[in-house]
């Protein structure tokens, strides 16, 4: 027990790094909405570009993307902060997945909704923001919840560019102190975080349950 308490401050620091990556990557949510809409654009080059974007960022491991944004850029003489590389990698990667979720959500809305908005004189923008997207958000909530929980765990990948987040701290302690206890503590931290995310989504789903 004393050992647990003794390493908690250090684990806590790692947890803060994890939380920071998590929080900043949530920016990929609004970005995903925009990219999802762009993917459906009637302007073909844009839709095509988005398809390639999704292919590249969803089609390669996030681990490789992290290496690219940090060491890859460094190799060609572009130095960016470790944190910046992490944020860029995570946001662009997650936005690709989220864009696909939002795209499919938008496409799942009945054509009659567009037509009703159209004959009432609503502009495309009004139709999107007032009629389509609110219904899309409700529909895509479960898959978005999945992605956000994945994100909690994916933050562990940044060990590859030597950033001391929760799981890396645990590993270092485990090796130096020759014990598995730090891993157990890390697991508890992750479970607490996912429990919060899970309950948050449950709460939002309940709040949106006022219509079918």
């Amino acid at each position: 027990m004393d050992y647990v308490i003794s390493i908690l401050p250090q684990m806590g620091k790692g947890w803060l790094v994890t939380m920071q990556i998590f929080a900043v990557t949530l920016l990929s949510l609004p970005l995903g909405v925009v990219l999802g809409i762009a993917r459906l654009s009637k302007f073909k080059p844009l839709a095509w570009f988005m398809e390639v974007y999704v292919w590249v960022f969803r089609g390669t491991p996030l681990l490789l993307q992290l290496l690219f944004w940090y060491y890859g850029l460094m190799a060609v003489g572009v130095r960016i902060e470790r944190e910046t590389a992490v944020y860029v990698a995570f946001i662009l990667n997650y936005a690709a997945y989220l864009a696909e979720i939002f795209r499919s959500g938008i496409q799942s809305i009945d054509r009659g909704q567009y037509e009703a908005a159209d004959v009432l004189g609503l502009s495309r923008r009004q139709t999107m923001t007032q009629i389509i997207l609110p219904q899309v958000f409700k529909r895509v909530l479960p898959p978005i919840g999945n992605e956000v929980i994945n994100l909690v765990k994916d933050t562990a990948l940044v060990y590859i560019i030597a950033m001391s987040e929760l799981s890396r701290v645990a590993r270092i302690r485990a090796v130096t102190d020759d014990t598995l206890v730090p891993f157990a503590i890390a697991a508890v931290f992750y479970l607490l975080m996912t429990a919060i995310v899970q309950n948050f989504f449950k709460w939002v789903e309940a709040r949106l349950d006022y219509y079918h």
């Binding site: 037509e115 009703a116 159209d118 004959v119 009432l120 004189g121 219509y211």
Partner: protein
């Protein structure tokens, strides 16, 4: 002058010619019923009138203003987007599947477009909405959501929603086809009341009874063309064309 004028409307979906030259002129206050078998093009024709579908050839005029007319190459050219938007606002549309906004309450469904499109202040929009709900007999449902209503009630809300934009013409695309038989009456009653108020109406319908009682003119379409038109008695009771007769015998027997 005509409230609505469509001349020689042609429309193809790919290679399938669904409208082969359909013309219709509607005077202020007239109620037109368009009947015909499924696939006859009647719904497509109605949807062409307010540009839910674009036409390939022909002329469409609303309240004396051109929405589309043939260009030099014989293909329809639409007016500029601003004029079209203005003209389309004169037309209300009621769909077979209601298409209410499920995430908005009944009252919000009625207030949305007046506030967003016509910048009507909220209090005024709400007053109009409540008046219209009273008119369709749904005052007590103002704060309910569409899924809580029966099909007939939803369709009455949809009619009220269209009326909230104060249209000069109301188009109905098979408004009772998705309803259980016992629920069609309440919707037809609301439409009959509208007709009595001299609303200009174009109704695509399978309700022969409604067409007979309410329509000033009945149009029978088949295979992308108007086969026969005239007063309800002429078309429904004494049809001249064989196709009209056989269609009527099938729908009347089915009842």
């Amino acid at each position: 002058m005509y409230m609505l004028q469509a001349i020689d409307i042609h429309k193809k979906f790919g290679h399938l010619e669904v409208l082969k030259g359909v013309s219709l002129q509607v005077k202020q206050g007239e109620v037109i019923a368009i009947i015909g078998p499924s696939g006859s093009g009647k719904s497509t024709f109605l949807r062409c009138l307010n540009r839910l579908e674009t036409i390939d050839r022909g002329t469409i005029e609303i309240d004396g203003e051109v929405m589309a007319k043939n260009g030099p190459d014989g293909r329809a050219v639409y007016s500029n987007e601003k004029d079209i938007t203005r003209l389309r606002r004169k037309m209300g549309m009621v769909f077979q599947n209601f298409n209410l906004f499920p995430h908005k309450s009944v009252l919000e469904n009625l207030m949305l477009a007046p506030m967003q499109v016509n910048q009507v202040p909220a209090e005024e929009a709400e007053k109009t909405a409540r008046d219209l709900l009273a008119k369709v007999g749904l005052s007590q449902k103002a704060n309910n959501y569409p899924f809580e209503l029966s099909g007939g009630q939803q369709q009455r809300v949809a009619i009220a929603r269209a009326l909230a934009m104060n249209p000069a013409i109301m188009c109905f695309d098979e408004p009772t086809s998705a309803l259980d038989p016992e629920l069609t009456g309440e919707v037809l009653r609301v439409m009959r009341d509208l007709a009595l108020e001299h609303m200009t109406m174009v109704v695509v319908t399978h309700e022969i009874g409604f067409a007979r009682e309410v329509a000033n003119r009945v149009i029978f379409m088949d295979d992308g063309l108007i086969v026969e038109q005239g007063s309800a008695e002429e078309v429904l009771l004494n049809p001249r064309q064989e196709r009209t007769k056989s269609f009527l015998s099938t729908v009347l027997v089915a009842r």
